[in-house]
Symmetry: C2
Subunit: 421 residues, 2 copies
C-alpha cells in the first residue's frame, strides 16, 4: 500500500477485471508502474502528485478479503498547496502525535505540514544557535521540546509521504516565550514614562534584534529543507511599541509602523508596501466578504495566496459541521482567470488553545477530510454535501482501519471499530 508520492515501480498483477490480494491491507505487495518519478529529493511546490489516489481503490469484501478494481487512474489536485497547521506552542504535541497526523494527512492528500512550532506560550524548538530559547522558553526544558533529531524525523516522515514541512517562526508579535531565553529581545511596554514590567513584540529599535532574528532564521533555513519559511506576522501589539519612547523614536525615523523585516503579512493588504514578488500571502482571518475582497486585492497585485480563514478547524460545534468546511469555494471572488490561478491553495488550521494529543486526531478527522476533498477534487463533481456524506462516512471507516482515531459523522458503525485503550 502506498500513500503520498511514494516511489514504486513495476506493473500491476491483473486477472481479468479484479485481482485478489493475498494478505491484509497493511502488508500486501502491489507493483505499480510510475511514469514520472521525482522522489530523490524533498517534495517541493512543483512535485508531481498524480499517484496518490491508488490506495483508495482497495476495498474489502464480506469475507475480509481485499480487492482492487482494475482502473486507469487519471487524478491530479485542483490546488497545489493543501496544508494543515499544527500548533505546538499552546500545547506541546509529542512526536508520535505529529507522525500519526502526517500519516493521516497523506491518506487525505494534504501535502504541506505547516508547523506553527513556537508562539507566546512556549518555545519547544531546540535551537543549536540559541539553546536558551527552549531551555527557558519551553514548558519543560527536556520533556516538552523538539530536538534536532525530532525535527529530522518529522521532516523525513513527511518526505516519504509526499509532504512538505513549512516551519513557522511567528514574529515580531506572538513572541512572549522567545523573551525568556533572549533577554532584551522584546519591547519593554511603558505605562506613562515608566516601564510597566510587561513586554511586547520584538524590539525593532535595537540592532541586536535584527542580528538575533537573522541568525535564528539562518539556522531554521538550514534545518528545514523547504524553500519557504512562514513568518507569521499577525496580531502585533502596536500599543506596546508606541508606549516605548525608544521604539517611538525609531518609528518616526523610519516613517512607518511596519518596520522592514517585520511586515505582518496578514495586515490589511492595502497597508503593506514593498513585498517581494515571490512572497506567498496567507489569509488567516476575516468574514466571507472580507476574504473575497482580500483575494481580489492580493491577486490583482499579482501575488500568490493561500486561504485559511474558513478552515479554522479548532472551532468546534455540535453536529455535522464538516459541511461548512466542505462548502467553501476558494475561487468565489471577483477576479480574472489569471487572478484565480494565483490562489494556490488552502490550509486547515488546528490552533492549540484547547487541543493537545488527547483530542487532536478525533477533532481533525474526518472534519479536515472535508476540506481536503475541496482542495483536491474538481468543483463540479464535488458540489453536493448529500453526495459527499456516504463517501466521507466510508472514508472515515477507512481511516479507522488504518489506525487513525477519526470520529464518526453520525449514527452508524464501521466494520473495524476503534477499540479504545
Amino acid at each position: 500500500m502506498f500513500m503520498g508520492a511514494v516511489c514504486v515501480s513495476g506493473g500491476p498483477r491483473q486477472h481479468d477485471n479484479w485481482f485478489r490480494l493475498p494478505l491484509n491491507e497493511g502488508v500486501f505487495t502491489v507493483l505499480v508502474d510510475v511514469r514520472k518519478a521525482d522522489c530523490e529529493g524533498y517534495p517541493d511546490p512543483d512535485s508531481s502528485e498524480s499517484l496518490e489516489s491508488f490506495s483508495q481503490l482497495v476495498y474489502q469484501d464480506d469475507f475480509g478479503q481485499y480487492f482492487v478494481n482494475k482502473t486507469e487512474i487519471d487524478d491530479f489536485p485542483r490546488f497545489k498547496f493543501r496544508g494543515l497547521l499544527l500548533d505546538t506552542s499552546r500545547h506541546y504535541l509529542p512526536l508520535p502525535a505529529i507522525l500519526k497526523t502526517l500519516d493521516a494527512m497523506s491518506y487525505n492528500k494534504f501535502n504541506v505540514f505547516h508547523w506553527h512550532i513556537v508562539d507566546d506560550p512556549s518555545f519547544p524548538y531546540q535551537s543549536s544557535t540559541f539553546p536558551g530559547l527552549s531551555s527557558k522558553g519551553a514548558f519543560h526544558p527536556s520533556t516538552h521540546v523538539y530536538s534536532q533529531t525530532d525535527v529530522s524525523r518529522v521532516i523525513s516522515h513527511a518526505r516519504l509521504r509526499g509532504i512538505r514541512v513549512l516551519p513557522e517562526f511567528d514574529s515580531p508579535g506572538h513572541t512572549q516565550s522567545w523573551g525568556k531565553g533572549q533577554p532584551g529581545l522584546l519591547t519593554s511596554c511603558y505605562k506613562g514614562s515608566v516601564p510597566s514590567g510587561t513586554f511586547g513584540p520584538v524590539n525593532p529599535a535595537m540592532s541586536s534584534s535584527y542580528q538575533f532574528i537573522s541568525r535564528l532564521f539562518k539556522e531554521v533555513a538550514s534545518v528545514f529543507p523547504d524553500p519557504y519559511i512562514h513568518l507569521g506576522g499577525d496580531e502585533v501589539d502596536f500599543t506596546c511599541w508606541k508606549s516605548n519612547p525608544e521604539v517611538r523614536g525609531f518609528m518616526q525615523k523610519m516613517g512607518s509602523l511596519t518596520s522592514p523585516g517585520f511586515a505582518g503579512i496578514v495586515l490589511p493588504f492595502s497597508t503593506l508596501v514593498q513585498i517581494p514578488e515571490e512572497t506567498v500571502l496567507h489569509i488567516w482571518k476575516g468574514s466571507p466578504a472580507q476574504i473575497q475582497q482580500e483575494l481580489s486585492d492580493i491577486t490583482l497585485a499579482g501575488y500568490r495566496v493561500i486561504l485559511s480563514a474558513p478552515w479554522y478547524i479548532n472551532h468546534i460545534a455540535y453536529g455535522q459541521d464538516w459541511t461548512t468546511y466542505y462548502n467553501v469555494q476558494p475561487l468565489n471572488f471577483t477576479g480574472s482567470e489569471q487572478q484565480k490561478s494565483l490562489v494556490i491553495g488552502g490550509e486547515v488550521c488546528m490552533w492549540g488553545e484547547y487541543v493537545d494529543a488527547t483530542n487532536l486526531s478525533p477533532r481533525l478527522w474526518p472534519r479536515a477530510s472535508a476540506a481536503a476533498e475541496r482542495l483536491w477534487s474538481d468543483e463540479k463533481t464535488t458540489s453536493s454535501v448529500t453526495d459527499a456524506f456516504p463517501r466521507l462516512t466510508d472514508f472515515r471507516c477507512r481511516l479507522l482501519r488504518r489506525g487513525i482515531q477519526a470520529e464518526p459523522l453520525f449514527v452508524g458503525h464501521c466494520r473495524h471499530e476503534y477499540e479504545g485503550i
Copy 2:
C-alpha cells in the same frame, strides 16, 4: 492506590507530617484503616462512600517522587446518585472503552453507570431469551454485540470501583432495532386506511407485546444485580399509534394515551397517573425554567428525582463550556427542605449520535469532572468557577497520568502528557 469504595484494611505508615512512597503512583502499597466496610455485595443506593477521596491526596514532587500529606479525611457526597450515561446503540462502544470509562468514573466519584444499551439504531445486548434481538438488530451479529460475559465483566469492573450498573431498555418508543428480531412487536403505522410500511413504538394493543416485554425484563432483572431498571419511556410517537386502527380502538377502550406498563417517565409530570411510590423520576430535557417547575412538581408529589437536562455533555461548544456544567445548581427551585431532599442526584448524559470510542474519552473528561464536583462537593465551598479552574486543570493532569485521555481546559501543559498512538 485505591479509588471507589475499594476494601482495604490496616493502618497507614506515617513519618511525621509526610511519608515517602517507594514506587510510582500505580503500584505502591498503602494500608488504610476502614472503619465501616460493606464490600461483599454489589454497590447499591445506600452504600457508604466516604472513602473515595484518599487517592486525590497523593502528589508528585519536582523529582518525580510521590507524597501523601498526613490527613484526616472526612469527606462524603452531597448527592447519593451521581450518574453517567453511555449510549451503546447509536454507536457501538467496544468493551475496553466502557471499562476505561468506569475507571475514569471512579476517579471522578461517579457511582452509577447508566447503560443506555439499546435504542432505535441497534440492539447490541445479546439476550439469552431472545437471541434474535441482537443477531438481527445489532449493527453486526458477532462483532457489535455485548455477550452475557461482556455484561458480567462490566458489572464486575464497576462493582470493584463502587459503581452501580443501571441498565436501560428504553421503550415503548426508541425500539426500531427491537422490531428486526421480534416481528409483530412494533406498531404498523398507517397512511389513511393502509399500512405505510413504517413502524412505530411497541404495539400496546397486542397481548404478545406484554408477554415479550415481561420475559425480556425478567431476564434483564436477573442479569443486572441493581435493584433498579431504567425504563426510558421518552419520545413516544403517538402519531403512529393513533394512525393504527387496532391501537386506536385499544386506547379508546383503556381511556388513556399512556397505556399501563408503558408510561413515559419524562412526559410532563402532570399527565402521568399512578406511578408507584418507589419510582425514581428522571428529568431528561427542558429549559432552566421548565426544569425548576418539574423539580417542584415532582418533589411536591413526594417522588424522588434525578436531574440530567443541564448535563447533556454530548453537546459541545468551542471554549471552556465546562463552566456551564459547573454552574448548575440542582436545588435551585421553589420547594421545602423536604422536597429538596428528594433530589437524589444528577446524571451526565453522553448521547451517541456523534460519539464512539474514537472521541468518547476526550469529550467526557474533564468536562464531566465539572459536573462530578457539583454532585459531590458542598455548594458553599465550590461556588467559584475561578477557584475551580486551577483545581480542575490539576485534576485533568492527574487523569492523564492515570491513562485517561482527558482533553485540556486551556493553554498549558502536564508533566506527563498523553503520548498519542
